[in-house]
Structure formats: C-alpha cells, structure tokens
C-alpha cells in the first residue's frame, strides 16, 4: 500500500472553503482579446532592453510561470505541475507543434478553462447547483424561462452570464451562495431535501446551507400566509418519510445479508434479496386471503360433514386427511351469505344475528383483486429494474466499465477480496485476449465443429426434456386410471407424482450443466444464458403438462373418485410444494455439504463447491409459480409458502457460509436481477394467472363443495351479482349493461390490445431517434475537443511569434532558471512517477 503518497500541501481539498483556483472572470474574454492583450504586452517588452529590467521581466515570467490564483494565496505548485503535464501530453499527441514548454499565459488560460473548474471546488459546485435549483424552481413554477440554459455543466460560463458585475471572486462566491440559498428556500420541502442530499459537498457546508435556507424560510413564512394545501402536502410528505424510514430501519435479516455480501459479494446476495422479495409477495397474498376469506369462514364455520377424518401425521405431507375439511381448501367454503354460525357441539345453528358476508362474491373478488395487485407490483418492479439496466446506445465500453465498476465494495473478508482480485485479473486478461487478433488454424473448420457440438447438445437437452415430460404425462395418466379403478385415492400413493417431478427437477439441471461443460462456451455470459434457458424450458414444460393433468383431466373426468376436484388440486399443489422443499433440502445436503466434505477429505482439494445462483433462483421461481397456481384452490397456501421461504433462507444461508465459495465466473448482477424479475412476471405469474382465469372461466365447479357449487362457471358468480344489483336498484342498470357490453365483448379487448401495440411502436421509434442523437452528440464532443487543441496550439504559436526577443533572454538565463526551479523538476518527477 502506498502510504507515502506525495501530497502537495496546498491540496485543493484543503482549500475546500476557499475560492476557485483561477480568476474566473479573466477566462471568458474571447481569445481574440487575449491575443490582443498579449500582443500589447509583447510590444511593451520589446521596448525594454536587457539589464535590471530584463531581469525583472524574467522575474515576472518566473512569477507568471509559478502562477498563483491571487496575491493573498500562498505558493501553490499545482499550476505548473499541471502545466508540465499538459506539455507532456500535448507534446506526445501533437508532435510538430510544441517543442518546448508552454508560455505562462497559455498556462494561465489552460488552467482556468471551464472544464477544469467543473465540480471540483466548492465555488463551482455551488454555481452548478445554483443553476440546477433555479431550473427546478422554474420547472415547478412552470414559468417561461427568460434565457435558455444549456444543459452542459459549465458553471463558470453560466455564472458569467448571470451576473456580469461582480469582479471580486470572493464576494461573487457569497452572492452565488445567497442565490443558491434563495433557490433552495423556494423549492418544495421534498425537492429541497433531494437537492441538498445530492450535492457533492461536504456535510458541514450542507448543514450551513440548510440552516440558511430554513432561517430565511422562517422569516418569509412568518410574513406570508401558509397555503393550506401545501401544509397538507408537507404533512403527507413528512409522514411518508417517517413511514419509509421506519420500514427501512426494520430491515429484515440485515446482519446475515451483510455477512453474505461481505464474503461472497453482490451475486450471491442477489439470491437472498430475491428470496426476501418473494417473501413479501407471499405475505401480501396471505394477508389479503386471510382477512377476506379465511377469517370470515373461520368465524362462521359451516356444517361439518359426518365422515371427517381425525388428525394423523401424514397430513403434513399429503395435505389430505384431516386438512381436507378445514379452511385450508376450497371445498370448505360456503356458497351462501354467511350470517350465522353452526355450533358443532350442540349441532345446531345459533340464533345470534351477526353481520352478513357474501362468501362466493368475496371469494371471487378477493382472488381477482389479489392477482391484479400482484400484477401491478410485479410490472412496476420489472420496469424499474429494466430501466436501470437497459441502455439505449449501442456503444460499449467494456474494459472501462470493468476497470471502474467491477470492484465490489461490499466484499469485506480478506480471502474473498483476494478471490475478487483474481477474478478481475482473469477477466481483464480474457478481455485483452479477445482484443488480440486470433490466429486459428482453420477458423471455418473450428466454427463448424463448435456448431455441431452446440446442435448436438441442444438436441440432447430437448430430447431428454421431452422424454421426461412424456413420462410425467403417462405416469399421471396411469395414476389417474389406477385411482379410478380403486374408487379412492390412496394416501401414500398420492406422493408418487410429486416425487417424480421433483426428482426430474433435481437431476436434469445437472445433466444440462454437464452438457454445457462439454460444449465449452467461450463467453461465460452466453453459458449462463444457455443454462438458464434450458432450465426454464424444462420447468415450463413440466408445469404445462401438470396444468393439463389437473385442469384438463382431473377437473373434467375425475369426478368418479374425487368428490371435490378443487380441493384435490389444492392438495396436489400443497404436496408439490412440500416435496419440492424436501428435495431442495436434500440437494443442499448432498450437493453442497457432502460434496464439500468429499472434496476436502477424499480429493483433498482446496476448492469448495460454488453456489449456483441461477439454478437456485429458478427453483424459487418454480415454487412461487406453484403457490400462485394454488391460491384459488387453497387460500392458505401462501402461508405454507411463507414458512417454506423462511426455513429455506436460514438453511441456504448456513449452507452457503459453511460449504461454498464465491462464484469464479463473472456475474452481472443487475442484468441477472432484471432477468429474474422478468421471469417471475412473464412465464411464472402470467402462466399461473392464465391457468387460474381458465379455471374460473371454463371449468364447471364441483357440485358438492366450495363457494361456487351449482353454478355453471366461477365467473357466473360475478355476473349473477351484477344482475342482482341491477334488479334491486334500477339506477345501477347502466352499469350492468356497460359490464355486459364492454367486459364481455371481445371487440373491446381487441381495440385495447391494438392501442397498446401502437403505443409500444411509438416508444420504440422515439428510442431510435434518441440513439441517433447520441451518436451525433458524440461526434460533436469529439470535434469540440479537436477545436480546443487547435486553439491552444494557435495561441501558443502566436505568442511565440510575437516574442522572438524573449527567446534570447530565456536561452541566456536558462541556467539560472534551472537553478531557480529545482522544485519544479521534483514535482514534475513526482507527478509522473506518482
């Protein structure tokens, strides 16, 4: 670690509270004027001859060379330091132009260029934010701007535009600060806080600004009437802030998450954060279901059927038995308006009158509302995540991004940091290797070979997946027929199908990994995507065939041995969830713990198994799909899922800490998180909501159980209610007819979808236009840079032309100058060797 870094004493950060390094007003005269000034100076110098005045002139040049911002400042070696740099760089790039060092005036100009003063010192930052707050204020007040402020961040020029009078830079800074305070005070509270927090100034300065702004606000507030609207808004904002800070401070699992991120980095952390997100979705579902369905039905229990079974331990696994006649499943819910409860001990209906509650309607609307709100939350988080990671311009700066953005500051443990350094080193080497031209023996043959291998691997994966899916189809058919023959479903044999499916889900990804290893992808991200798509294909097809089995087979012709098919499907989903959890545990045990012990003791390798983030996240998504599918048939399924996720968190956390190491392959967190949220929204949520909608729309509910018995379809409950409302209340009949014409008419949906597509097309055109503008602007910036270089070299050459006499002096006294400036060479040396 370089502790002995050379710091010049007059570090700009030390002078944080002082003004900008250069006289800003001197900068913005046009170059013509400056050159004219210089030519005047040259004429003056030409009239002098050598001797003491010549000496004085040399001193002046010496002094100029050691330029300081203003006389009161102490000696600052920063300017010539940079000037020397400038010299070296321009010397390298524009060879024929600059043989020697720049003159003092050129250096003066260069050091006070606006681009040098942007955002680096307090004066410039305050100017910049002054203008930003002014813009914000104008935007909020929707007044037409007097001048069009450019969006470039060149505060000095704009500062010059705003006020041309003040010449003293210190008083100018104070005026700027006053302006900033004034602007801040005129913003709304939330804007002001956002601006204050976002300013890159030190905390002491920010506190002072805030104090000044609130002081003035108090003064103005006392004199003017507070608008009651804004007061109300302020209350709302304050309460929102306290609520969100409360939520934030109650962060769940803060310490374990910090430990994980400290040791494994952001990639593995994203898995646990995804788990937390899923937990919140399930908590929401559970609260909704519990309040609107489970609680009322539990308060008004219906008549208990005679053949209710007693509790035996197998229920926890199969979900049948005792559980089938409880609030857990669809079959328990009543299809009438609840207004009295049944006392099971006296076997009679109570006579106490309680508030009535229309159960079928409540069931219908609760499910609809839960899905609708979940959809909105998902789409919102997906679009937010997408917006963060999607970039519209095509240019890549891979190496630059890798250099500056790949260091994970969250990693704390020493070994992990070492691993991270090695990873970055490897990635940089790989990227450099890609840059070098490849010399293949025969690139066409190589490519053909790779193509063949890829095709073969894909073919194998697809074939195996199809085979497994067909296997599940026939096995479920076989089980179905068996159960029909026997007339009832055996308790333990119900577990056969879930076990088979979970086994397939466990073993096939291993096969896919093996195929990917054989294929030997060059790019690690392509490998990740291919693995992800194969797993996804497997899970989607498995879920598809299962949905067909439940909704197509059992719901329609399973009625021989199943009295209540919805409860049966609910139980199936419960079984699937539980068995999936058990298999995940087994996988963690064998895949991670035993593998680590095996490789430690027997193979004696230092490397622990890696935590496969993509596979684990896909497993979570699969489990959540099952939960969403089952909500209609088993309102308490979200509670089961919550328990499962909680246990999974702790088990995975301890397993990861004990058995795994950080992934060696690079993992692009932001992109992968977006992909996972998208996968959660599109195949997972969309699929389950399509299935649920199909179940509600087309399938006949069972006759003897559930809140929709004796109806044609579940949707009819809503329609019935509409009709009932229209009959009871004549003024609501337009609503009923609107419902009949709009919601049930397919034309409405077509038109809606058409408008949606047009909007998407429009936005994509806007994006194309923005891409074009970005390339144009990049060209523009490049040209500006060229202009800058050109002007500087011209300035220097003009200066040199005008002072041929000065050359003689410098040559004569060059030795003296060398003696006088040993410290410059020191600084020069220190700055280059750094």
């Amino acid at each position: 670690m370089a502790r002995s870094v050379n710091f010049d004493l007059n570090h700009p950060l030390i002078e944080y509270g002082l003004e900008s390094p250069a006289d800003e007003e001197g900068v913005h005269d046009s170059f013509n004027q400056l050159i004219a000034e210089q030519s005047q100076n040259e004429e003056m110098f030409d009239t002098f001859d050598q001797g003491p005045l010549g000496r004085r002139e040399l001193d002046k040049e010496h002094q100029d060379f050691v330029y300081t911002s203003s006389p009161p400042h102490t000696f600052r070696e920063r300017e010539p330091d940079r000037g020397e740099y400038e010299l070296e760089e321009y010397g390298e790039q524009t060879d024929p132009l600059i043989p020697e060092r720049w003159s003092s005036d050129t250096l003066k100009i260069l050091s006070s260029m606006p681009s040098r003063t942007i955002g680096r010192n307090r004066g410039a930052i305050i100017s910049q934010y002054c203008n930003k707050t002014l813009q914000l204020r104008r935007r909020r007040q929707s007044k037409p701007a007097d001048r069009v402020f450019s969006r470039s961040s060149r505060p000095s020029i704009r500062a010059y535009d705003l006020e041309a009078d003040t010449t003293d830079s210190e008083s100018r800074d104070l005026t700027k600060q006053d302006q900033l305070v004034n602007n801040l005070q005129n913003l709304s509270a939330s804007d002001r806080e956002r601006m204050l927090r976002g300013m890159p100034l030190c905390l002491t300065v920010k506190k002072k600004l805030r104090e000044l702004a609130s002081q003035k606000e108090k003064q103005t507030r006392s004199s003017s009437r507070i608008n009651c609207c804004s007061h109300f808004k302020l209350c709302i904002i304050k309460s929102w802030y306290t609520w969100s800070s409360f939520i934030h401070s109650r962060q769940m699992w803060k310490v374990p998450l910090k430990r994980v991120s400290g040791r494994f980095g952001t990639g593995v952390l994203s898995y646990f954060l995804f788990l937390k997100t899923l937990l919140f979705f399930n908590v929401f579902l559970f609260l909704v279901m519990g309040t609107f369905l489970v609680l009322p039905q539990a308060v008004y229990p219906p008549e208990v059927p005679a053949n209710r079974r007693s509790f035996s331990g197998l229920e926890l696994l199969t979900g049948a038995g005792y559980f089938s006649d409880t609030v857990m499943y669809y079959g328990y819910y009543c299809n009438y308006t609840l207004h009295r409860n049944y006392n099971s001990s006296t076997q009679a209906w109570s006579t106490v009158k309680l508030p009535s509650y229309n159960m079928p309607l409540a069931y219908f609307f609760t499910i609809g509302m839960a899905f609708f709100i979940t959809c909105i939350i998902l789409v919102y988080s997906m679009s937010k995540s997408f917006g963060q990671s999607f970039r519209i311009d095509k240019s890549y700066s891979i190496l630059a991004i890798k250099t500056f953005c790949s260091w994970d500051f969250r990693v704390i443990k020493k070994n992990s940091i070492k691993l991270l350094s090695e990873n970055i080193c490897t990635q940089l080497k790989e990227l450099l290797g890609e840059l070098k031209p490849k010399h293949g023996r025969n690139p066409w043959l190589e490519r053909l070979r790779r193509l063949m291998v890829h095709c073969l691997a894909w073919l194998m994966c697809v074939a195996v997946t199809t085979g497994c899916v067909i296997g599940i189809y026939y096995f479920s058919d076989y089980m179905h027929i068996e159960n029909q023959k026997q007339g009832a479903a055996q308790e333990a044999s119900l577990l056969a199908l879930p076990v088979l499916v979970s086994l397939i889900n466990l073993l096939l990804p291993g096969l896919f990994n093996f195929a990917a290893w054989v294929e030997d992808y060059i790019s690690p991200s392509v490998r990740t995507y291919v693995g992800l798509s194969r797993n996804l294909m497997l899970k989607v097809s498995v879920l598809g065939v299962l949905c067909y089995h439940w909704l197509g087979r059992i719901a329609t012709d399973g009625t021989d041995y199943i009295k209540c098919w919805e409860s049966f499907v609910g139980q199936e989903l419960y079984r699937f969830l539980i068995v999936d959890f058990i298999f995940t545990l087994l996988d963690t045990l064998f895949g991670e713990l035993l593998w680590r012990l095996f490789s430690d003791k027997i193979l004696k390798r230092q490397r622990k198994p890696e935590f496969d983030i993509a596979k684990n996240v896909l497993d979570l998504i699969y489990g959540q799909t099952l939960a969403w599918l089952g909500v209609l048939f088993s309102p308490l399924l979200p509670a089961v899922q919550i328990l499962k996720l909680l246990l999974l968190f702790y088990i995975k956390m301890s397993s990861v800490m004990m058995n795994c190491q950080a992934p060696r392959r690079p993992y692009r967190v932001s992109q992968m998180t977006t992909i996972f949220i998208t996968l959660l929204c599109f195949p997972s949520f969309l699929g389950s909501s399509v299935c649920v909608t199909y179940a509600m729309w087309s399938i006949k509910p069972s006759e003897s159980c559930g809140p929709f018995r004796r109806l044609q379809t579940m949707l009819k409950a809503g329609k019935q209610w509409m009709k009932q409302l229209a009959e009871e209340n004549a003024s609501l009949s337009p609503l009923a007819s609107a419902h009949a014409y709009l919601v049930e008419n397919p034309l409405f949906l077509f038109v809606g979808a058409g408008i949606f597509l047009i909007v998407i097309y429009f936005h994509s055109q806007v994006l194309d236009g923005q891409r074009k503008i970005i390339t144009l602007l990049q060209e523009h910036i490049k040209n500006e840079g060229e202009d800058k270089k050109f002007l500087i070299t011209r300035l220097q050459s003009i200066h040199e032309q005008k002072r041929p006499s000065a050359r003689k002096l410098t040559n004569q006294d060059s030795t003296e100058l060398q003696e006088d400036k040993p410290q410059f060479s020191n600084y020069y040396g220190s700055s280059t060797s750094g």
Binding site: F7, H11, R210, D408, I412, S421, C425, K788, K789
Partner: protein, 187 residues
Amino acid sequence: MGNKQTIFTAQQLDAYQDCTYFTRKEILRLFYRYRDLAPQLVPLDYTKQPDVKLPYELIGSMPELKDNPFRQRIAEVFSEDGQGNMTLDDFLDMFSVLSEMAPRDLKAYYAFKIYDFNNDDFLCKSDLEKTLNKLTRNELTEEEVRMVCEKVIDEADLDNDGRLSLEDFQHMIVRAPDFLSTFHIRI
C-alpha cells in the same frame, strides 16, 4: 421517537437526517461505530460540536474498510484535510454517499475523486495504472497494464484529450448498471 438521547440536539439530528441518506436511528448507530474506534477521543456529548478528528489509521482499521485496496483514497476524498483524518461529519458523509440510497450521479462524482490519485481532476494514464494495480494486486504485467489503460482511454474519452474528465466518467457510469450495487458499503 420518544427515546431520550443526549448525544445530539434535536436540531442537529434533523440537520443530519436532511443532509444525509440516513434516518435518526442509523445516525446514532453510526455515531456509536465512530466512537467505538476511539472511545477515549470521542466524547459522548456532541451538542457543543466538539472538534474531534480521528486519525486515518483508526478509520482504515474498520472491518468494512480494512482490506479494501482503495481505503486510503476513500478516506482522503471524504476527509476535510485530505489526509484521511475524519471528523464525525466526514464519517457520516462517507457512509451516506456509499449507502444504497445515494443517487448515481453523487456516487459517480465521488468514485471519480477516489480513482483520481493525483487530484488533478482528470483520470490520466498514471491514475489508471494505479487503479489497475490496486484492483489486481499487481498481477498484471506492465505490457497488459499499458494495453488496458490505452483501451480504457480509447473507449471512454469523448473529447479526445487523452484522459478522462468527470463528464467522460459519468457518461461511462450511466452505461454500467452494476455500478450502483457495487459502489456500496453496508454498515
């Protein structure tokens, strides 16, 4: 919130809350972390705003920063004296910028300052070389370091002056969605 704490006045806590991305509880927790570094130097009563500065060695020994190769630069950038000796304000500022809620522009600004080793407000070749060496613990060869530096400047330098200014850096950061999640220290 009803808990009586005498470390800060209510106005001080309000000011901290408004100027950083932390809540009251977090500010108090951070204060205790700051104090734990040197209990004999840091008083328990900050109402009179005592002028206490912890030396860099203590800051650099925090578990969150201990093994980070950029810890010295981080401390220097956020300290008032530029040497890494931090007051409580600097400490809070540092962790506020490095927290989850800080916006990208603010983080990009400070990241730029951290990587600017010679403090000339530009990321020149030597800055890049030092950054790379710190990132890879000097594992890359000279040749590789040189090539990477050239390529980085080539990719990110928009106005072709041979080094990266703050705007170039911010433009590049905008295209790196991972930056927000990696430039984050949890405390």
